[in-house]
Subunit: 256 residues, 2 copies
DNA sequence: TCCGAGGATTGATCTGGATCAAAGCATTCA
DNA sequence: TGAATGCTTTGATCCAGATCAATCCTCGGA
């Protein structure tokens, strides 16, 4: 059963998925080949030799999603898998009464659909404008079966995500609001550094509600914590992001 | 860096790992071949043909751990991977100040060390008496590389664990104490049913503190919730376990 | 330039679960 | 048989974060 109906009536407004009209502003850009892909080195595709990369290139469909547009819904049949090339995506699960837990933010180079399973375990929406490669799941699975290198890479990616999930459990189950925020910012900074950003300023395209649903807090608490850390000169709130002023203090708070 | 030092001085008393003396009461039982293994059908080994199973059999070492004995510590170099054949294991992460989050309970058929990575992402102790097959990690990795079937199975197991981890995040981040307990019991019951148990009574070999550290609560809250559900005739506390009396009510509370 | 909508912030108050404290209950060992 | 040890339960109180309720930006469109 899809959670689409629930979504439409709940607090989380989204844009309907898979409708050509809603993606009109973003044209297809299939001219860009996998071999020239900017995020290849940080994504699972890096496991492939030039020949196989060329084959993969034929399977891909480059798409663009507008802010708030939904890629797919939890429990729907999983027709596709995705590789994010730019922008940020929120992955989340909803309880029947509308409570939401964001289980991850996906960024350039991240692969969505590692489980290769029949149904989506969560919903996914674009936070800002998102570019992604889409693959038909069945085609992709067939391709993977013949490419042990790629399967190994997918397995590595899956176990890496599992490690992140376990860290997230510690955060949700055992940390205070301040620690949650600090830990999130430190993790985000390190992730951006790995993506090649200078990361003095951390861009936060998501709303306070998104942060709250990621950290297991309310949006008011997130706002208060950020304000307090601002007052303490640990960070500085800038438009669409946060600048870290006192990295040592933040790391101390977020220490794992 | 190992968290062993922290453990020794903290509230969670454990038995030192890898000392032959502490395992003296459990003799080696390498006579039991993989092909006759009771949990094979529910474990990753099921991916192997008879020939390969015989090879794996030579790699395995059947071990027994006493209650509270530690299999390995978080952050230590990962020398082995394990397949649990009987008993229960807690996997947990510790914060520097001793706060603990249990990230999973492993039961017969479960594989520990799916990530095949260099270091342990968590610590693991036996809860009750545990029997497990141990494999040298390097040997196991070499074996896997030549067996795509097994790699596929490991990947499936990893993504299944990821799904469980995501459900656990929802539980930790967005559910009340009652819902956490109910959801845990329902999940445990279904897991036992899949293992072939009747599961009218759910054995709980772990302590209230373990449950608390799994659910992101305190042991007092766990005790109070169980007492309340007992008073409401939803369940009955029995020695070393819980009997579900009102399954419908429990499922309603634990609904996802 | 003003207006409206969608965030974000801040304040006042409430409460679920934590914390502190004291029994209670089995085992095991002397 | 008693007493020590290691859970578990129950009670009293406290507090971090939730909830309820105004404002307060900020930015895009008229």
């Amino acid at each position: 059963m899809s959670t689409r109906a629930a979504l439409d009536t709940e607090a989380y407004e989204v844009v309907a998925p898979s409708q050509r009209t809603s993606r009109r502003s973003c044209k297809r850009e299939n001219d860009e080949a996998c071999r020239e892909c900017a995020v290849r080195s940080v994504s699972v595709c890096d496991a492939l030799e030039p020949d196989d990369l060329a084959t993969l290139n034929l399977l891909k469909e480059k798409l663009c999603f507008n802010p708030k547009e939904t890629l797919f819904y939890q429990d729907d049949s999983a027709l596709s898998v995705y590789n994010v090339t730019s922008g940020s995506v929120r992955l989340y699960k909803l309880l029947p009464d509308g409570r939401r837990q964001i289980v991850g933010f996906m960024m350039p180079g991240d692969f969505i659909g590692l489980s290769l399973s029949e149904r989506n375990g969560y919903s996914a929406d674009a936070i800002d404008t998102v570019h992604a490669c889409r693959f038909n799941r069945a085609d992709f699975v067939s391709f993977v079966v013949a490419k042990p290198n790629l399967l190994r890479k997918l397995h590595e990616a899956a176990t890496h995500e599992l490690t992140l999930a376990q860290d997230h459990m510690v955060l949700l189950g055992r940390r205070s609001a301040d620690e949650k925020m600090a830990s999130f910012l430190v993790t985000m900074r390190d992730r951006l550094i790995r993506l090649g950003s200078s990361a003095v300023t951390i861009p936060l395209p998501m709303t306070r509600q998104d942060l709250a649903d990621y950290l297991g807090l309310t949006l008011e608490t997130v706002s208060r914590v950020i304000s307090r850390l601002g007052r303490e000169r640990v960070l500085l709130v800038v438009p669409n992001g946060i600048r870290i002023l006192n990295s040592a203090r933040l790391e101390e708070l977020g220490a794992s």
